[in-house]
Symmetry: C2
Subunit: 218 residues, 2 copies
C-alpha cells in the first residue's frame, strides 16, 4: 500500500494533529485487532455489526457463512469499517480535560468476494496465522466442504485513516495547582493462563500474535 | 429498563443461542466499554466512527463539541451502535472450528440531545464516574463555558441485543485425536502502572472502574 492522500471522507477535521494516513500506521492498528465493526445499509436501516478480521497485504479480510445476511449485504454496497483500541485513561485536574489515549482506523469502500478455492484456502491460513502464528502446521486444514460453506470478503485499505492519541494530560494553566493525581493510566490487553481441552495439557502451548505481546503492561 | 422482545432488527438469527435480550446482560457489556462505534448516514455515505461512551440508567450517552459533524449527523437520523469485547481465542484441532469468545451489544435508534445545563452537568459527572469512580469530588467541575461548548446526546437502550460466546472448543468427533494443543486463551484488559504528571506523584492514585478490575487475568 502506498500512502494515498486523504479523501473528503477520511480527512480528519477535528483535532487533525491526531490523523495519520500512512500505511505503516494504518496496518499496525489493523494488525492489533481481532475484530472490526462494520457499518452498512440493509433493508432500509443502517447497521453496525462486529466480525472477526485480519489483514493480508493491502486488504482487510472477513469471513462468514455462505448464506450470511452480513456477507450478502456487504457485497451489495459500500460500507465503513472501524477498529478501535483504547490505550489509556487520561486523568486531568479538571473534569473537562479528561481524555483517552487510543488508536483507531476508519476504512471506506466496498468488500469484494474471494471465491477461488486456492485463494480462500490461502486467506483462511492467513487468518489462523494472525490468531496464532505457526498453528497452520499443526491443525487439520479446512476441507473442501468447509471452504465451500465459507464466504471470504476483502476490502482495500486505500481509503482509510488512522487517529491516534498517545500523550499525557492537557490541563489549562490555571488548573495546575489543583491537588489531585493527574496522569495516564495505561490500558493493554493481556493473555491469561491458557485453558486446555481435556487431553491437551501435555501438548506445547500455542504461540500468540506479536500485537498481543506488545500490549502487555508493567 | 424492562427486557423487551427483540425487534426484527435485533433478532439474532445466526447462532441464536448466543443472543441475549435482557437488560442485565446488555448493561454489563455497555458498562465494560470506554468507547462505542456508531454507524450512521451523512452526506450520501455510511460512516462508522468511534467515540467515548457511558451508561446512565436506560440510556447510552456520548458527547462532542457543539459544531461536531458526528453530533449533528446523529441528531438528524437513525443510527446503530456497536460495542465489542474480545474475551478469548478459541483454538481448535481443526482450522475451521477456531473461534473467539466475545461479548457484543448492538443498539438501534436515534440519539436525542441533552441540552439543559443541569442535565448536562449531571451527565458529565456520570461520565467521569464511569472512568474513575469518586473522582468528581477531587477535580475542578466543568465551567458554564465548558458545558456550553459541549453537546451531550443519549440513545435509549430499548432496541438492543447482546451476543455472547464464552465457552470452549467445538471440534468435530473425528478431529479429537489430532495431537495439537486445543483450548481457550483468555484475553482481558489490564491497567498498567499509572504515569503521573509532574508534581502529582504524591497524591493518592485514582480509582478504576469495576469492569476493568474484573477483566484482570491470572
Amino acid at each position: 500500500m502506498t500512502a494515498l492522500p486523504p479523501s473528503p471522507r477520511t480527512t480528519i477535521r477535528r483535532k487533525p494533529d491526531r490523523g495519520h494516513y500512512d500505511a505503516t500506521s494504518i496496518h499496525a492498528i489493523v494488525d492489533a485487532a481481532f475484530v472490526c465493526q462494520i457499518a452498512f445499509n440493509s433493508a432500509g436501516s443502517v447497521h453496525c455489526l462486529p466480525t472477526a478480521c485480519w489483514r493480508d497485504g493491502d486488504h482487510l479480510y472477513i469471513h462468514g457463512a455462505n448464506n450470511s445476511r452480513l456477507i450478502n449485504a456487504l457485497l451489495g454496497g459500500e460500507c465503513s469499517v472501524c477498529i478501535t483500541h483504547v490505550d489509556g485513561l487520561v486523568l486531568a485536574r479538571s473534569a473537562f480535560h479528561h481524555s483517552m489515549n487510543f488508536r483507531s482506523v476508519v476504512i471506506y469502500g466496498q468488500f469484494a468476494a474471494v471465491d477461488h478455492a486456492d485463494d480462500k484456502a490461502r486467506a483462511m491460513a492467513s487468518f489462523l496465522e494472525h490468531v496464532s502464528p505457526g498453528r497452520n502446521a499443526h491443525v487439520r486444514p479446512a476441507s473442501p466442504a468447509e471452504l465451500a460453506g465459507t464466504r471470504i470478503l476483502r476490502l482495500a485499505l486505500h481509503e482509510a485513516a488512522a487517529k491516534i492519541r498517545n500523550w499525557g494530560v492537557e490541563d489549562s494553566a490555571e488548573d495546575m495547582s489543583i491537588p489531585v493525581w493527574a496522569g495516564v493510566v495505561p490500558l493493554g490487553r493481556q493473555a491469561g493462563v491458557p485453558v486446555a481441552e481435556t487431553g491437551c495439557a501435555d501438548f506445547p502451548l500455542p504461540s500468540l500474535p506479536a500485537a498481543l505481546q506488545k500490549e502487555a503492561l508493567p
